[in-house]
């Protein structure tokens, strides 16, 4: 297989090559590509084709469930016509994007990585998907995830696990003393984190410029941190959930994964706003914003929650977190320790509320109207039972059972109501901190850098989720916006991300701070070429690519 002709400068959006790998800073990737498209330096079709061939070359990452080659090329062609007429729809016109496979897309299979929905073709598109398409974005494919978005590794879907592109990076391989030989290759690859691992890997490996994920307990921010990309969780109620196959209605939000903070702001500008089809979106009008290029953080107050300094936190991540705090302080910001006293209860509280809503949301999968239906036909009841056993994996079934238990009449007060009250307390912790003068919180996103798959699967999904969600889930409980920014490489040469949590609906402030930090951090670009060499070698060796 011939290596695809990839121009890293174009893939990075640096049409004028001002981005050197050493500098590592890429402001406004999408807007630069957009400019290149407008000026005719590259055409939407070319861009689309490059992404498609790169997807083929990186197939071993297993980031995509469906690659929508035909529709993407058609969309690219339409975009090209618009550019030629000088009538581009905006910054996203002609830009390849990917969408996590738990968003409904008209006419395109949507599986949630589950047998229950294998072969399911939705008759409508999620609002956020439609908004992207209305702006002329080119939908390049549906990305892989943990089944029904339940998990923190993107390892538990029926299409197999997603591989972290950094497993094949020059940075990682050099640090780990790996050479180009393949001896332990297949057993040492790393997880992406989850559950939006496919989307994170897709953005990270340059096969698209932005991707939609979902975030219920950290599912966008976690893989963003592990894959070295920006992962934004907007305020609950800002972005429509219509068409996002629900996990926990009171916590889910569509997440945005991009290569830089400016891009996240661009995509948010397209997606945010009231949707009559989602009664939980706020009515207030949303004004899309562009982030300032000159940012002064000296007037800011950054809060460091002391309860997030836990034993499980790796020393490297702790060091990076510290260094970041110092960075703000040196720039004149006020950096103070704050307390979120109910943090220790959040895992259990999250577990009760999450499983209860999951049990409710999964009740619709009965095999009658759509999706998998078992052949068992002795009675309707037995058909339901067999369908749901065959259609759902252990993780999903476990959560359904737990959730139903908590919702039983005799347990409702003790568990569900109690958890609602604790949730209120957790949310109030943030309210108190933000009303005491703190503008933004700075925390780690994950406990450590990405681990190898073989190590990750030693613990079960529930254990892993409980561990890995610890820094991220509070933002879902309280509905606040949060963003993970790739900060530095670990000793192994793997990405470490830090999280900023902002005030409700203050995405402008949150992303402004994040952008400043991104500029300071100068996180390096993933060295792509190595990965393609690997792909070449792999294909020659005809190694099986399933997990």
């Amino acid at each position: 297989m011939a290596k695809p002709d990839v121009n890293p400068a174009i893939q990075d959006g640096g049409a004028h090559g001002f981005l050197s790998p050493a500098a590592g800073f890429r402001p406004g990737v999408v807007s630069r590509v957009s400019t290149a498209l407008k000026e005719g330096q590259v055409s939407p079709t070319e861009l689309c084709q490059r992404c498609l061939s790169l997807i083929k070359a990186t197939k071993f990452l297993n980031a995509y469930i469906t690659v929508t080659e035909d529709t993407a090329l058609r969309q690219a062609e339409e975009s090209e016509k618009r550019y030629r007429r000088g009538q581009s729809l905006g910054d996203l016109d002609g830009i390849p994007v990917a969408v996590k496979d738990n968003f409904s897309t008209t006419g395109i299979e949507t599986t949630c990585a589950s047998n229950m929905l294998k072969g399911y073709i939705p008759p409508y598109s999620a609002t956020v998907v439609q908004k992207l398409l209305d702006q002329g974005a080119v939908l390049i494919g549906k990305t892989n995830l943990d089944e029904f978005a339940m998990g923190s590794g993107s390892t538990d879907g029926i299409f197999g696990p997603v591989r972290n592109p950094w497993s094949y990076s020059k940075q990682y391989r050099e640090k780990c003393g790996q050479n180009s030989h393949l001896e332990n290759e297949d057993s040492s690859w790393l997880i992406t984190g989850g559950s939006s691992g496919g989307s994170a890997a897709a953005v990270s490996s340059f096969t698209c410029f932005a991707a939609l994920g979902s975030d219920t307990g950290g599912s966008t921010r976690n893989p963003a941190a592990h894959c070295g990309v920006v992962g934004l969780k907007p305020t609950y109620g800002l972005v429509s959930r219509h068409g996002l196959i629900p996990l926990v209605n009171s916590m889910d939000v569509p997440g945005i994964l991009t290569r830089c903070v400016d891009d996240a702001a661009t995509v948010l500008g397209v997606l945010a706003g009231h949707d009559p089809k989602d009664s939980t979106t706020v009515q207030d009008p949303f004004n899309p914003f562009k982030l300032p290029s000159v940012i002064d953080v000296s007037k800011l107050c950054i809060g460091i929650p002391k309860e997030y300094h836990i034993p499980g936190l790796s020393s490297e991540t702790l060091a990076v977190w510290s260094k970041a705090a110092d960075l703000f302080e040196n720039a004149g910001a006020r950096v103070i320790e704050v307390s979120l006293p109910h943090t220790c209860y959040s895992i259990v509280c999250y577990h009760v509320l999450c499983t209860a809503e999951v049990a409710s949301n999964m009740a619709r999968f009965d095999g009658l109207e759509y999706g998998h239906r078992s052949n068992m036909d002795k009675s309707t009841e037995s058909m339901y039972a067999a369908t749901r056993r065959e259609g759902f994996n252990d993780v999903v079934r476990g959560r359904i059972l737990s959730g139903n238990y908590f919702l039983l009449k005799q347990n409702y007060e003790k568990y569900f109501i109690k958890a609602q009250k604790v949730r209120r307390l957790i949310a109030n912790d943030f309210v108190n901190v933000f009303s005491s003068g703190v503008d933004v919180l700075l925390t780690p996103t994950t406990l450590r850098d990405a681990v190898p798959y073989v190590e990750f699967i030693k613990e079960d999904n529930r254990t892993r989720s409980a561990q890995d969600d610890i820094f991220t889930q509070a933002a879902n409980m309280s509905g606040l916006p949060a963003v993970s920014i790739p900060t530095a490489l670990s000793e192994k040469g793997l990405p470490i991300g830090l999280q900023f949590v902002g005030r409700a609906f203050q995405e402008l402030q949150l992303l402004t701070v994040a952008k400043w930090f991104e500029k300071q951090a100068k996180f390096p670009i993933l060295q792509l070429q190595e990965m393609l060499d690997h792909a070449d070698a792999l294909s020659h060796q005809k190694i099986s690519l399933s997990s």
Partner: protein
């Protein structure tokens, strides 16, 4: 609107819940309803019954409204037992419904039917619903229990599959009877759901609920609390179109049936029973008032024509008021002719029969065609009476001798001679005058 019309307290904040169970016609696996806090509570519905030997006495009764809640409809299941198949029609699944829950204040099928009838009229007046039971726009489930006076309420059964007011009365009465017999034979009543079989006129047990089902109620996370405002609580800068103002709605409520009936009685001097009939038939009240406006005839006489004659004909031919071949204009014209003495009452009935054919003729045209005009010429009448008297001396003698009944025979003879074109009252006067001479 319905809550206000039923004198309920409107909850300015109400909540939505999910009620979970698995059934083929429930695609989401749960129904959204208002279990914790419904939109309206504690109301009242007054209705009337005809009681007594001849069903002529009107009695007013009351049933308390426990609550009104908003919820989702399920789909429809159609069973084909022959092939062990069930067909599911999901067209109505998810559509919003209003459930009105009444307290057990009714004692028999007749009361139930009357209460529901009044509710139907109210819903139709408000425009909340057409409430046609046969078309499933109003669905009624009856909860029936029996007990000895003074004892607490007995175990209740729920009776479904009732498609008309008549079947409602029958189903309730059957179930009462069944339960009494069951208990008197030493049996017990199960808290179950039964279906009304309209062909057999009885209730049969339906799907078995396996003891008590736990619906695992949970707040509906996708629907925030429903907030309604009144004039006092309305926030200042809010868009009128975005909120529901209870006071605004209250001001605009149309006259409820009971108010309309009272007004009709007061304004036109008709009997209360008449007002019920006018409201019971769709469009009849409007027709009546229209005719009254267009004619000089006393409304108390008009009502007779509208109910006995017009409505009588409609019932005979199974037509609605809208489908009537005789409209208010024709009827008013006809009654005017009668009122002015141009025709007699029996002639008017003849004209109505002709009008009913719907050939587009006016009453006046028909009168002329059929030569139904009363003889107006006094002298002509006088001569005819005279002639009849002269031709029937025997009868004249009898009347003069004191047998007044024979006068009717003479009147009849005059009618025959005039081909019924003589006003019988006038004829009687003329004859009496002559006889006393």
């Amino acid at each position: 609107m319905t809550g206000l019309a039923l004198s309920c307290s409107i909850n300015k904040k109400s909540l939505f819940d999910r009620k979970h169970y698995f059934y083929a016609d429930l695609p989401a696996g749960y129904q959204i309803t208002q279990q914790r806090l419904p939109i309206a509570v504690n109301g009242n519905l007054s209705y009337t019954l005809y009681v007594g030997a001849k069903q002529s006495q009107m009695v007013t009764k009351n049933v308390r409204i426990k609550q009104i809640q908003l919820e989702q409809d399920s789909g429809k299941s159609l069973h084909n037992d022959a092939r062990s198949q069930t067909f599911i029609d999901l067209n109505r699944a998810g559509v919003g419904l209003m459930e009105v829950v009444m307290e057990p204040d009714m004692c028999c099928g007749e009361e139930a039917a009357a209460a529901v009838r009044e509710l139907q009229l109210i819903l139709q007046t408000l425009g909340s619903s057409q409430a046609i039971m046969a078309e499933g726009q109003l669905r009624v489930d009856a909860n029936v229990s029996v007990r000895h006076p003074g004892e607490p309420y007995g175990v209740r059964t729920e009776v479904k599959n009732i498609n008309s007011l008549r079947f409602l009365a029958r189903a309730v009465d059957y179930e009462i009877q069944r339960q009494i017999e069951e208990l008197e034979n030493g049996g017990t009543i199960l808290n179950e759901t039964r279906a009304f079989d309209y062909k057999l006129g009885c209730t049969i047990p339906m799907r078995d609920k396996e003891g008590k089902q736990d619906y695992r109620f949970m707040p509906e996370p996708n629907l925030p609390p429903l907030i309604l405002y009144d004039a006092k609580s309305l926030p200042a800068n809010i868009d009128d179109q975005q909120v529901v103002n209870i006071d605004w709605i209250q001001e605009r409520l149309p006259d409820l049936p009971s108010v309309k009936r009272a007004r009709l009685v007061e304004q036109y001097g008709i009997l209360p029973e008449h007002s019920f009939t006018l409201l019971n038939e769709d469009g009849l009240m409007e027709l009546f008032e229209d005719v009254v406006r267009k004619t000089q005839m006393n409304p108390k006489k008009v009502i007779g024509w509208v109910i006995s004659e017009l409505l009588g004909h409609l019932k005979q031919y199974d037509l609605t008021v809208k489908e009537s071949p005789v409209n208010s204009v024709s009827l008013a014209d006809l009654l005017n002719l009668l009122e002015r003495g141009v025709i007699s009452s029996s002639a008017a009935k003849q004209v109505l029969e002709e009008l009913w054919k719907g050939e587009g003729k006016t009453p006046l045209q028909i009168v002329k065609e059929k030569r139904l005009e009363l003889i107006q010429n006094q002298r002509e009448l006088d001569q005819i009476c005279q002639a009849v008297m002269e031709g029937h001396q025997e009868e004249v003698m009898e009347i003069k001798a004191g047998n007044k009944k024979v006068l009717n025979k003479l009147i009849g003879l005059v009618q025959r001679a005039t081909q019924r074109r003589a006003d019988p009252i006038l004829v009687k006067q003329i004859l009496e005058k002559k006889l006393s001479q």
